[in-house]
């Protein structure tokens, strides 16, 4: 595809800090190469702002190759913009037409407070992982890699869930700001593997409890998360999480009370 140059009007959410009210500011982006990524386009706009002595637009990014999950803004009402299975950093300006207006907003959720402009605090995700999204294994005596057989289909499903980069687009897209796609992916990637079994049913309980504490909403099965996810994480993971949660509740027993009379 040959390079073109397009002119755009941007409505960008500007907010000084968490306390500031914030609002949209209009910018003209002239002569934008269609070969730029969306973040490069914003870089160029920011260079212009810096040259004029204005505060550049703050946005999150790191790898710029679609694997770290740092980037992510809502572009024309869709997290990560109009292309399916594409992060904001991997979205290119050839997805837009000359003369387009583009609205750029931060992810909106009580659990993701805005820090500045387009940057939100996704620490809630870290706390959910810390609540149970791990396995406990003795270190220093790593077992042989192939000692534990894993069924191919389970390995594949676990890998599909593990593709989640923790970007938060699912929360941003959900009309209820529910984090269930993320949480269920992080539960599934362990629940599907033998190494995840010992903590399987305490993990789901703890992670769901932490998710609720962080004030995410609840899934009503709209399917918006799956449509927005840059890694195509499937709704099937949410079903698996629900199933494990039900089983965990039905079979719950307090940890210290394991006397059993024997």
């Amino acid at each position: 595809m040959s390079e073109k140059h397009i002119n755009l009007t941007l409505y960008v959410w500007r907010q000084k800090n968490a306390q500031d009210e914030g609002g949209f500011v209009t910018y003209e982006a002239k002569h934008v190469s269609t070969e730029m990524s969306f973040l490069e386009m914003l870089d160029v706009v920011n260079e212009g702002l810096i040259r004029k002595g204005e505060e550049p637009i703050a946005m999150d990014h790191d790898c710029r190759e679609g694997i770290c999950g740092q980037c992510g803004v809502v572009i024309n009402g869709r997290p990560h913009g109009p292309r399916e299975r594409t992060t904001t950093c991997q979205l290119h300006m050839r997805s837009f037409e000359d003369g387009d207006t583009i609205t750029i907003e931060p992810f909106r959720a009580t659990a993701f407070p805005v820090i500045k402009d387009l940057i939100v605090d996704r620490g809630a995700f870290d706390r959910i992982i810390a609540a149970g999204g791990f396995i406990s294994a003795p270190t220093g005596s790593a077992p042989d890699g192939n000692a534990i057989p894993v069924k191919k289909t389970c390995a594949d499903l676990a890998m599909d869930a593990a593709a989640c980069i923790g970007c938060g687009a699912c929360v941003a897209a959900c009309p209820n700001a529910s984090a269930m796609l993320f949480v269920s992916a992080k539960i599934s990637q362990l629940a599907l593997l033998p190494q995840g079994q010992p903590e399987r049913y305490s993990r789901v309980k703890d992670m769901v409890a932490q998710m609720d504490d962080e004030e995410f909403g609840t899934c009503t099965n709209h399917g918006e998360c799956e449509a927005a996810c840059p890694k195509a994480v499937s709704l099937e993971n949410i079903a698996r999480m629900n199933r494990d949660f039900i089983w965990s509740s039905l079979t719950y027993r307090p940890e210290s009370g394991g006397s059993g009379g024997a």
């Binding site: 959720a109 009580t110 659990a111 810390a130 009309p175 998710m211 609840t218 199933r243 494990d244």
Partner: protein, 229 residues
């Protein structure tokens, strides 16, 4: 606060009924009871097409089964189901509104349906409808010419009023919207997802919704056009 402490802080909380997933399960279990009921209710009412005798006989059976205790046990179960369903719906809806106090300038939804987005509203309409329906054809206060024991007669004179019939039809369309998403949604809540059955889940929701709503809507229409009189 360090992450680990925050975790310990909240580790004590979280019983089934306060958990978001737990409330979804309450909604799904009571949803099964409700949609099971509307299905059987519709099939029972099909006897209106057989005439006064069979319908009134069926009504009498319902009132006298297990020496008259059956219907009260049944009513208690339905009451509990409706109250729990409404409670879970209200509680989750409030949480969801709190989770997204500020919306987007122009959100472009990709996957949500009309049916999924109107669940809480069709639910409230159904709640109002249930109250009206009980006052209309069960206790009679909202009926112009109620005769205790004559279910068939009350059914016919009730639907001869065009206003009542119109409200029934609107309520049934709401029921259709609510059931179509609800029946699919509850399979997801119970965790019944598998590529082999995913299409079947949608199909089942569509068929059961069409049958129940179609059957129910046929009653007022049949009375108004004089097929049942």
């Amino acid at each position: 606060m360090p992450v680990a402490e925050q975790y310990l802080d909240s580790a004590g909380k979280g019983g089934f009924m306060v958990s978001s997933v737990g409330k979804k399960v309450v909604m799904a279990i009571t949803g099964v009871a409700l949609f099971g009921f509307v299905t059987v209710h519709m099939l029972g009412n099909m006897q209106a097409y057989m005439g006064r005798e069979p319908m009134n006989h069926y009504a009498e059976f319902l009132h006298t089964m297990i020496h008259g205790a059956g219907i009260w046990v049944f009513r208690a179960v339905m009451l509990v189901a409706v109250v729990l369903h409404g409670w879970a719906a209200l509680s989750l809806t409030l949480d969801n509104w709190k989770a997204r106090p500020k919306g987007y300038r122009a959100q472009q939804l990709q996957a949500a349906t009309w049916s999924s987005r109107t669940m809480r509203y069709t639910g409230v309409i159904l709640g109002c409808f249930i109250v009206y329906h009980l006052l209309h054809l069960t206790t009679g206060q909202a009926h112009p010419d109620f005769k205790p024991g004559d279910a068939y007669g009350n059914f016919v004179t009730g639907f001869q009023q065009i206003g009542a019939s119109a409200f029934y039809i609107v309520a049934q369309l709401c029921l259709g919207l609510h059931m179509w998403h609800g029946v699919w949604s509850l399979t997801q809540t119970f965790g019944w997802a598998h590529p082999r059955y995913n299409k079947l889940r949608r199909t089942f929701a569509s068929v059961i919704t069409a049958v129940v709503v179609g059957g129910n809507i046929s009653f007022p229409i049949a009375v108004l056009v004089g097929i049942i009189r």
